[in-house]
Symmetry: C2
Subunit: 694 residues, 2 copies
């Protein structure tokens, strides 16, 4: 859903344009509201406390995580590593189903394409970016911005072990250069059975009470050996209790708390509906596809989890926007800022037209959207091209071959020099495919393409010709060898000549439609994205001038800290307690999916202390991307592992409501106890407690 991320480019302050509410906020490490922490919690973290938490925290596979030993042991969620666990599985051995446990270091298995990023440094580059883009508009603005960002990132990324990103905070109010230490060799150490990790499945997802061991251990390697990670989190020595102060550290993906009303209306009335309808249909297909055979179920399960999760999350977001009181607050907020701007002739002259420009861009978007989403689809989850990695690879090979012939600063940003190592790492990571599943998914996508654009659309005619969606999908998938890493490498290294000479059907398709896609991408960047970016900056500046900078920037999948306390909430008049216990899982189990506990649990039920705290909730402010975030106490010790938000947290994309918005985490006591009693994973528990080196 890149459209969402790009459409999300706007404004400056919190939901009400007023200083942040207590406990609201996803704060960059260098912008912690220390006065607020001191005032409310009498807590004054030292610079060392902050630095240690930052360097113990990592980004991994679209999620968050933390180092939990001095040898690169990394704690994250099972659902964050599920793609790796699934890729390592075969028809014969299904690690998703039966779990994975490396009893020795040698048994740890490489997660293809996985990287761990640890934030090393942050530097302000606002002046450089502003100088480069000064006075520019539209395509010129975009080119200048991309060019300067590419230069800055290239200067910074002096080795493949460094990842550098220019991050736009406050929607362009501030630009910072984030430099990460990249670990490109990540291995799987331990994962429980999916029945334990995802107990309650989709029905319980985003709900509470919960009973999930949504835990996986990975390990970062460096030069073929476990990475040396002196900064890591230790297990808490004091037991966590209700009302305790908690911090989460992680990478919230994106929030849209500063969007203009026109953008929110577009999301509410068009984009979220379109995406939800596509997901609902795809979900119906996937569930039934899995019933073809046990193998079909195995290969499609991970995709289904993702779709169910996305559906429920976006449905919650949409329902928040449909609440008249919620939307009215957002409207009032904008009205009040615009009134302040309009009342001041100088401000009005500088910023007064920005909202109308953004509103107008939404109308352009509405007209361009079907073609953009279905043909070029910058990340659109709906398009057929997102349905199979074969096409994704083909597009990267075709476009990458062309882009790499251009100067760095003239390329699409994903092909800039600073991003190429990551791109080729992902492109060349092994990923086994199941051809029948790829055919079925692509046929599904091509059928939707025809429906959405219409049988008479030239692009539909070009792609389908006289074939049915299923025939074309079969021909493309069976006629492609791109699932072979060596073939991808040959084409990547061979560049334009190799691509042009390829007889691979998927490459030929990607070549045939590349020009149409590029034109659409160009229109999208120039008529839309750059207009929104430019005017969002103006709105951001207007907010600076009117309110000052007293709050946190929207989430950007960069490291943030939130703080809050352990506590339940009131649901339909009933107070839900903050903790569940291990025993609750056995009570809830029916023996039928998704309420099946693994045999390993049932076998050890008698040996377990069933009163051990299992899952808990806090009022920390998180969103998607925070999965796998460590929860730490005042001492900076690990007390929990974030794996979900409650149903009310889904509106958190647009605003935070502390009365009901909750973070859901696994208690470390349950992790330690189950590793010990159920899994006999003493190698890990020793490492966690630091006794492995004694």
């Amino acid at each position: 859903m890149k459209l969402r991320t790009i459409a999300a480019a706007v404004s400056l302050l919190g939901l009400l344009g007023a200083p942040a509410l207590a406990d609201e906020g996803m704060w960059p490490f260098n912008r912690l509201p220390k006065a607020e922490l001191q005032r409310k919690y009498a807590f004054d973290p030292t610079n060392e406390w902050v630095r240690h938490l930052q360097r113990s925290s990592v980004r991994v596979s679209g999620c968050s995580g933390s180092f939990v030993s001095s040898s690169g042991l990394t704690l994250t969620n099972h659902h964050c590593a599920e793609d790796c666990i699934s890729r390592l599985s075969t028809a014969a051995v299904d690690y998703v189903k039966r779990g994975f446990h490396a009893k020795t270091s040698a048994e740890e298995r490489v997660c293809p394409g996985y990287e761990v990023h640890q934030l090393a440094e942050v530097n302000d580059v606002t002046a450089r970016v502003e100088k480069a883009t000064h006075g520019l508009d539209g395509e010129a603005f975009h080119q200048a911005f991309r060019g300067e960002s590419a230069r800055i990132e290239k200067e910074c990324a002096t080795s493949d072990e460094l990842l550098c990103e220019v991050v736009s905070l406050y929607h362009g109010g501030v630009y910072e250069l984030y430099q990460y230490r990249r670990y490109r060799d990540v291995r799987l150490v331990f994962a429980p059975e999916v029945d334990a990790a995802f107990f309650g499945g989709d029905p319980d997802n985003f709900n509470f009470p919960r009973y999930n061991l949504d835990v996986t251990f990975l390990r970062a390697y460096d030069g073929g050996k476990p990475a040396v990670t002196p900064d890591h989190l230790s297990m808490a020595k004091t037991p966590l209790a209700p009302n305790d102060l908690t911090f989460t550290s992680g990478n919230p993906g994106s929030t849209e708390r500063l969007l203009t009303v026109a953008e929110l209306e577009y999301l509410r009335d068009h984009q979220l509906i379109d995406v939800l309808l596509g997901l609902a249909r795809y979900r119906g297909f996937l569930v039934e596809y899995g019933k073809r055979s046990p193998e079909a179920e195995r290969v499609s399960k991970s995709e289904l989890f993702g779709v169910e999760n996305a559906f429920k999350a976006l449905r919650g977001e949409h329902q928040a926007l449909l609440r008249p009181d919620f939307f009215a607050r957002l409207e009032a907020n904008e009205r009040s800022l615009r009134a302040r701007v309009d009342d001041n002739p100088e401000l009005k002259k500088k910023y007064g037209a920005a909202w109308a420009a953004i509103e107008n861009a939404q109308r352009v978007l509405l007209a361009l959207e079907p073609d953009i989403s279905w043909i070029e689809s910058p990340g659109s989850s709906r398009s057929p091209w997102a349905k199979t990695p074969l096409f994704g690879w083909a597009k990267q090979l075709v476009r990458g071959a062309e882009e790499r012939t251009k100067p760095n600063e003239q390329r699409f940003e994903e092909y800039s020099d600073a991003r190429l190592p990551g791109l080729s790492q992902r492109l060349l990571a092994p990923r086994p495919l199941n051809r029948p599943f790829e055919i079925a998914k692509l046929a599904f996508g091509l059928d939707q393409l025809r429906e959405e654009l219409g049988t008479d659309h030239p692009f539909v005619k070009q792609v389908l010709g006289k074939a049915s969606p299923e025939e074309r999908a079969r021909e493309l998938v069976m006629g492609s060898r791109l699932d072979d890493v060596a073939e991808r490498k040959r084409l990547w290294d061979g560049g334009k000549a190799a691509v042009a000479a390829s007889t691979d059907r998927m490459i030929q398709l990607a070549l045939a439609i590349d020009e149409t896609g590029r034109k659409l991408r160009g229109r999208y960047e120039n008529e839309l994205a750059s207009v929104v970016r430019k005017n969002s900056e103006l709105v951001a500046r207007a907010r600076f001038e009117v309110y000052g900078m007293t709050s946190y920037p929207d989430a950007t999948f960069t490291p943030r800290v939130s703080f809050g306390t352990v506590r339940g909430w009131r649901e339909r008049g009933k107070l839900l307690p903050a903790f569940t216990q291990l025993g609750g899982a056995f009570e809830r189990a029916t023996g039928r999916f998704p309420y099946t506990l693994p045999k390993s649990w049932l076998d050890k039920q008698k040996q377990l202390d069933l009163s051990t705290p299992f899952n808990f909730v806090t009022d920390n402010d998180i969103v998607g991307g925070n999965s796998g975030s460590p929860v730490v106490n005042r001492q900076g010790e690990l007390v929990g592992l974030v794996f979900d938000g409650n149903i009310h947290s889904l509106g958190g994309s647009y605003g935070f409501d502390i009365s009901v918005n909750r973070t859901v985490a696994v208690d470390v006591r349950a992790i330690a106890h189950t590793l010990d009693v159920i899994y006999g994973a003493s190698r890990i528990t020793d490492e966690l407690s630091g006794t492995d080196k004694q």
Copy 2:
């Protein structure tokens, strides 16, 4: 979607609260706007012209149709008879696929459960209904209304050959008693292959140009012989041309052009989204289910067609409501009426509070909706109970047994004496079931039930217990013999005692949840439906008093006439012509579903006159329910057969836009020519031309 029909209870005039626009309107036969016809078209139909059209028109299977010979031959759409064609098919002979052609009278096959209704008389009963409900409110109002309607209908339905319905027009402004002649023996005469009837399938549905022979001939029987139908339509002698005046006669199902803004908002922000998401997911499931095997495809195809059609239709309706200009017009309309009411103290006293009462009822609906839809589901397409006829039968048997012990006027309306013959006719009509498909559908529905109400909902626990949705579905379907007509008859005749003693698993489930369902239905009727009905009447009266009665009532699935002209429309700047020709079908065919022409067509391509007009569009005002409507010219001769509306017609539920709203019909010349050349159906063409009796 009964919720929609009930929520649709409101107000009085056309979209703008002003007199109807030219060519807008679905007029009852006794309320034709003759002055308008005279003024605009210089056409003054005689009473005999009107009576003849009325008596030639029929209602059949949720659709419309017409008598086209003096021996009960009935013309309707293939998609209206598809359920019959499908039920007569077996694994060995698929009439949907290969078509059906009774070459002799003896080969005509009974369509199980089908009835043909011909409107005989209409009488005003407003005074009786108003007297009975005078001064009443809430439950008392509802009981009185139901009681008086049941009495009126019972007095009228003096034999099983008569069907009587009290119809509320203008949302309670007028009540009329409609008496129909019922033909309960309906047989299949001719149907083309589905590839010809539904050429272009879902992608072309609601689009134009079209090339569909969406035609089926049925025959009404009376006493085991073809019915005598002196009133019937003759084939046109003058060729239809652009700009010709056309009439459609049929049964538009429901429009909501007089809803209050609060009700429209509820539809837009909640109901339509919920229903569309449910349909999208169900559709994904059905498409993939059909891939299990050819047999699975055969048994699920009809359900899939229905779901795809409903999805596209409701999506179009929703998109109309999401258009800011469209919705603003509806809001302005209401504002202006309310201002007129508020400015007049007397009107304000009588009617001023009605809008707020309806708005408040929407809030009640929002809170009640999940339980209503998922537990009692008065027709909700989403609920698991709508997914299999086995449950529908069980519920009718259980509830019917109980209701029939009560006095007529205290029963739920569907069990009133006047409705029982129709109900038992449908209940006892044979319908072959495919158990694997019933299990899969019910499992799908139970899974959704758990998701929507939540694992911890008492009803979910009652229905599922410790079983998975699939296990429970299997147990219910395999443990039921209700697909045996004799068993249904035994339970229906046996009443409460037989039902209570039944060991049928589906009957036992229906019994176990009946009390919960009845309570919800009661709350729905008393807190919602009656409040809306009562206050809609007040709004209707306010409109009468402010504007006078100058327009047509909302559609009620009763016979209506619309008038208009043959003409294309402008789409993205391009004028689409009004007619297509037979040759276009051959050009569009790819040989791949859904663009496959049947072999019979390909074989006869050379013998066909490819310039024969095939499909055409007019600006007549129709909606769902009008499928199968005859199109007639000034002479009252048959020129076409309505089978669709264009994509813009879907907003027609809420308002009519003559610039783009179009009716799509099969030209009778294509019907005659293909019957003759492709199908060699001389028995039918002779009958159509009246030469069979010469």
